[in-house]
């Protein structure tokens, strides 16, 4: 039986994810996480000792077709990137060169 998620853990995880939750949201999310994590405890029924994690799909046989070369690296050359003016048009606050944000450090 997986340990239940505590309110403190929900708050801590919310901090890690930079999400500011209301009291009500915290309560709902705690029970959602508990319900889902119970379901997830089923994975512990499986013995996965010695099974290598599958993180990159390209390692599966057949994924790359007949290509023997797994790397599709490009030459290390500088290429033009996005136009700055176009990008800065999307910025909420800017001096056209930098993104402006509220103070970083609380004094």
């Amino acid at each position: 039986m997986i340990a239940k998620v505590t309110v403190e853990e929900v708050v801590r995880v919310a901090e890690l994810a930079h999400l500011k939750l209301t009291q009500e949201e915290t309560v709902h999310l705690r029970s959602d996480l508990n319900a889902i994590l119970d379901y997830v405890a089923e994975l512990n029924e499986l013995d996965t000792a010695g099974v290598a994690p599958l993180a990159q799909m390209s390692e599966l046989p057949g994924e790359l077709g007949d290509a023997a070369d797994l790397s599709s690296r490009r030459p290390d050359q500088v290429q033009p990137s996005l136009d700055r003016a176009t990008v800065m048009q999307q910025a909420p606050e800017t001096n056209q060169v930098l993104f402006k944000v509220p103070k970083v450090i609380e004094r």
Binding site: H18, L33, V101
Partner: protein, 488 residues
């Protein structure tokens, strides 16, 4: 079926095929400009009810239609999709057009570039009509998680179209586009295709570039087409598939002629039917419709045999751990700094991050970010995330073993037909369970197609999922064509 607008106005039984329309445009019998105008007229009429399109890209579309008409008049060579009206799910970027990903956090955002799949469609002559509604950040199975309102199923407007590419499926079903692009991370092309009665393609992971796709789960996300019939869907895939230097996970394998592959007869093909997909929870009418589809394949000369994919039941927890973990990383970039929504009046940077994200993200997105963050956090990484990656390998190996003696696997795409709006949203677990049939293929990286396969007594579409091994979309299309030909 109930709706204010006559359902028949929304749902079109047999719209024109891509091939027919292109031939008419190439010959000059139909002007691309007139065709696109007629699609915009139709959209104006039925979009208020169905809520498929979030924004229209009329200027770009009309300019493209003109280019196509001029080329046709001069007798210049035309692209495979010349003049064909296509809609784009709003998680794929088009320069200067909105890209909301169905979220408030990207309201007002205008991308400065095109997704590769979008560029390829346009280079082939397609006329891009606009951006299509979807579940927020592609998270959902009903298109009820969009911050811009749900999409309604054209077959019965009190029901969901499925998700997350509900809008893309509905657009084709309601003839608001000849074809559309959607994305599939855990079933988000196949399931809505099944709910709306259209063809949806899950390409092999890496078959289509993800450049320009707003990422949800990077090891699972795939871009794929919807169309009204299998051959059109195959044509669409042929246009968007191929290696892209801008996507390090894109496959260098050459792209076959999928439409031609789909023409090949299925006699002698070996089809597997996995026992785990025909067990408890499968609606009786869905089962009956799929069994008719399997009979049709036998009549067409396929040999059908029962197989087992023993780790199937572990697929949904595995998927939710991996997908949410990857999503928590991918959605970290939405912080109010460089683009999108910034919460006003925050005193500190840290507050700005958390207020912007809390105010900009919907409930389901927050839930998944939190679960993913939890699964990756110190103390839980091994028990949750790493364990899920190990089970993922076991699932992939199930398919490898079974495909050694088969050409394709067929299953229902969804255990149930389209449910009513609001029916499932109270219980996140119920929504998760409906993903069982589709997440297995997502985790294994293999390809598949949803092909319409009959209806329930109430007239709701049923879809059959045809799965094939990596890069064998041709085989999946062939089998899907045979089911389509049976006209169930």
């Amino acid at each position: 079926m109930s709706s204010e607008v006559n359902a028949a106005e929304n749902y079109v039984e047999k719209p024109r095929t891509l091939a027919e329309l292109r031939a008419e445009i190439a010959s000059g019998r139909t002007k691309a400009a007139n065709l696109v105008a007629s699609y915009y007229d139709r959209i104006a009429k039925i979009n208020p009810r169905l809520n498929v399109y979030l924004s229209l890209t009329k200027e770009r579309a009309l300019a493209q239609a003109d280019r196509v008409d001029q080329a046709a008049a001069k007798g210049d060579s035309l692209g495979e999709l010349a003049g064909i009206p296509v809609g784009i799910k709003d998680v794929l970027v088009m320069t200067g057009a909105p890209a909301t990903a169905g979220s408030k956090i990207l309201e007002g955002y205008r991308p400065p570039y095109d997704a590769t799949a979008v560029s390829k469609l346009e280079a082939a002559g397609a006329v891009l009509l606009g951006k299509i509604n979807c579940d927020e950040f592609a998270m959902g199975s009903s298109n009820e998680n969009s911050a811009y309102g749900p999409v309604r199923n054209p077959v019965d407007t009190e029901r969901v179209p499925g998700g997350s590419s509900g809008g893309s499926a509905a657009a084709v079903a309601a003839n608001m586009a000849v074809a559309t692009l959607g994305t599939d991370t855990g079933g988000s092309i196949r399931q809505p295709a099944s709910f709306c009665g259209v063809v949806g393609v899950l390409p092999t992971y890496g078959r289509v570039s993800r450049y320009g796709l707003i990422a949800f789960a990077s090891s699972l996300d795939r871009v794929g087409p919807f169309a009204g019939n299998v051959r059109d869907a195959a044509t669409m895939l042929g246009v968007i598939a191929g290696h892209d230097a801008k996507d390090a996970t894109s496959s260098p394998a050459p792209v076959p002629d999928y439409a031609a592959e789909s023409d090949k007869p299925v006699e002698g093909l070996r089809i597997g039917v996995p026992a785990e997909y025909f067990a408890e929870g499968l609606d009786a009418e869905v089962r009956a419709a799929i069994e008719k589809g399997i009979e049709a394949l036998e009549k067409a000369g396929c040999t059908v045999k029962k197989v087992s994919l023993p780790h199937t039941k572990y697929a949904v927890p595995t998927y939710y751990l991996i997908a949410t973990a990857e999503a928590s990383a991918n959605l970290a970039r939405f912080d109010g700094v460089r683009y999108g929504y910034r919460s006003p009046a925050s005193e500190t940077l840290s507050d700005m991050y958390s207020h912007s994200r809390d105010e900009g993200f919907g409930a389901e997105v927050k839930r998944r970010i939190l679960l993913g963050t939890y699964a990756l956090s110190a103390g839980y990484y091994d028990a949750y995330y790493l364990k899920a990656q190990q089970v993922r390998r076991l699932l992939a190996e199930d398919f490898q073993r079974v495909f050694a003696g088969l050409d394709a696997i067929v299953t229902p795409t969804s255990p149930i037909p389209a449910f009513k709006l609001g029916e499932k949203t109270g219980d996140p677990l119920a929504m998760y369970l409906a993903d069982i049939y589709t997440v297995t293929a997502s985790l294994a990286g293999i390809c598949g197609v949803n092909v319409p396969c009959g209806q329930t007594k109430a007239g709701l579409p049923v879809g059959m999922q045809v799965l094939a091994t990596h890069l064998n979309e041709g085989t999946a299309f062939r089998v899907a064509r045979a089911v389509e030909a049976a006209e169930l």
